[in-house]
């Protein structure tokens, strides 16, 4: 059985839960067992959020530190925050569009340079892909499609066919946005 531990992180409100939902449903559709863990409640309100998705797993939903095959980060800073979950042989797919935390705006701590984030991440895992996926979402037609762009970007590595993923995307997003989201998936996959 194909096992794949994927950690999806970002900021509350970015659509992290929908992203993990699409991948989870696609796994079930392909007959793979799947476990995932979500962030709800207080932590969600604009805070750092983490969703664990364990494909081919029959145990608990939390990925052990050092166990993730892939870290999909919808915001650059959050990749660093959750980097401990990545396997040294793993892959990090990181969006470069920043969401500046209030602690930075108030001048308490500077936001690290993107190059610093890239270099740090490169020292922690086998491969780092950093792209402006937000720009691709805009190109597809809606900034809200960022989560689907990034599913496209990680889809090449998942033990799930892209046809199944696209089928589930079409069923999971609002009907009016299906075309935009399918385009978003393709742009992410090609990037």
């Amino acid at each position: 059985m194909d096992k794949f531990d994927l950690l999806i992180v970002g900021v509350g409100g970015q659509g992290v839960i929908l992203a993990s939902d699409i991948i989870g449903k696609a796994a079930v559709q392909e007959g793979l067992p799947v476990r995932s863990a979500e962030t709800h409640g207080m932590a969600q309100r604009g805070g750092a959020v983490e969703n664990h998705v364990r494909i081919g797993c029959k145990y608990g939903s939390l990925i052990p530190a050092g166990g993730a095959d892939c870290l999909m980060s919808m915001e650059p800073l959050e990749a660093l925050r959750f980097a401990k979950y990545l396997n040294t042989k793993g892959l990090a797919v990181i969006n470069t569009e920043k969401i500046v935390p209030v602690t930075v705006n108030l001048g308490k701590v500077p936001y690290p340079e993107l190059d610093t984030i890239r270099d740090t991440m490169k020292g922690l895992c086998a491969e780092v892909k950093m792209e402006d996926y937000t720009a691709l979402a805009k190109k597809a037609g809606a900034v809200q499609a960022l989560n689907v762009v990034m599913i496209g970007a990680v889809s090449k590595y998942l033990p799930i066919s892209q046809e199944t993923l696209k089928e589930v995307i079409a069923k999971s997003v609002p009907p009016k946005t299906v075309a935009v989201n399918l385009k978003a998936f393709d742009l992410g996959r090609e990037a």
């Binding site: 079930v28 145990y59 608990g60 939903s61 530190a65 800073l77 660093l80 209030v102 900034v143």
Partner: protein
Amino acid sequence: MSKEYMLGNDAIARGLLESGVDVATGYPGTPSSEILTTLAPSARDRFHIEWSVNEKVALEVAAGASWAGARSVCTMKHVGLNVAADPFMTLSHTGVVGGLILISADDPACHSSQNEQDSRIYSKFAKIPCFDPQSPQEAKDMVAYAYAFSEKHGIPVMLRPTTRISHAKSDIEVHDITERQKNIEFKKDAERFVVLPKHTRVLLKKLNAKQDSMRKELAESPWNKLDLKKGAKLGIIASGVASTYVEEALETLGTPVSYLKIGAYPIDPELIKKLAGSVERILVIEELMPFVEEQARMYADNVLGKMTGDVPHEGEFDTLLVSNIIRRVAGKPLLQNHDVKLDFELPARPPAMCAACPHRATFYVLKSVFKEDSIFASDIGCYTLGTQLSAVDTCICMGASITVASGLSFAGVKNKIACTIGDSTFLHTGIPGLINAVYNKADITVVILDNRTTGMTGHQPNPATGETILGEPAAEISLESIVKACGVQSMQVIDPFDLETSKAAFKKAYNTEGVKVIIARQPCVITAKRMGIRRQQYEVLEDLCEGCKRCVKFGCPAMEVRNGKAFINDTCAGCAMCTKICQFGAIKAKGV
């Protein structure tokens, strides 16, 4: 049978439907809230479902329904069970007629809670069985078993999921929903349903007499499993979600270990004795309290766990943590910890109130009128995040803002005292506190943050919103009438986005003695958006911005600093408070 990708709470709701639930009650609380929300659409025209005013009310409603023969369920988070503890402790004595499942969702690591609390202790305290699922699938499967068990033994039962069950998703087996034969009738039986001392003394004997048969039956149930391995010197006992971590860890340990998985209480001592008889040492791995461990110690020697310092007392576990606990005990090399060391500080990203949250506006006015040395008592809800604005000095549990403020007042502190409490929290347990404050002559300002919803837990309606869980219209309970009926002489209603009027109201309260109530009314920005309200966004005119950061200190996530000047990002939801805070007229409606 088919498989669906489901949230643990949705799986539990599905289990309730498949078991033919008749009455469902509860009060929202993370991580339990989605159970009723998911159940609601199926309830329409078929069975009764409600958001109750609080957990005590919820459990009593469920008890009444059960006594009439209905299968009932009552959902809450762990701290909600404290509120329901009064009926809970005696309900075990009277027992039930229709099956009654109390679902109390625990939150190890306090993801969204004021404490870590182990509901299993409550089940033992009340002498009722408790089901402790290891996975969302097991949580669902336990529901049908729990109803049958509850009816067979005439006892309420507890289902205790934790955050990583309730808010985990997995592939879930679903079955058809069939109509259940039911007989709804309340048969009078004062010796059972009227707990006079002479009745309850007998009921206690009956409750105690049930324990042995329940224990024996649960030992044979699918939830408790003993797996003795040949040549094993170490035995592990694990419960709840921790058992999945143990099972994953054992896969790569490379040494035979005997294993007792506990998913239902009370535990039959025979299970522990059998394990103890075949191994040299027993390691107990469970989150929260050493509940299983204490019982293991009664029947076995050489028990390791929290009480010997081998297992952490706090927080939630995962496979790495559990692997290394086992490896340390088994004398195996530890797995590498993956803590990342950075040579710079990682900026924190704490949760914050949303852009255009009305609470932020209310806190801003409160802070601008009440001086720095005022004391701000607060309560449980989104507005607890007001601590980031230095507008929350105390918070302990639901309803405790008005009462703690009263205590400060009665103690004779010289400072002005103001407290904040949400609409749902006020109705939950705030009202008795307000009556008490008026009756006993406190000198406090009470701000009811009426955002027309129960925000933090996911926007459930409450009695003041005039809508039921099914979205049907209901009598809209008037906060103003309640406040007046509590004997409050000074009450004002404000729109927090109307800065000048709000300031005047707070100044009046500041200068008035006694109990003053200000109802700050403005819908939650998330519900407003869902209702289709789209407000004008705002932008900073760079030439006029002096970079003073007054607007940034307001704490709105839409407000950033770019090149030393304020910048409003796309999350702006148009409350326009920043235009009133800016002294240079540098913030204007976008595109106007």
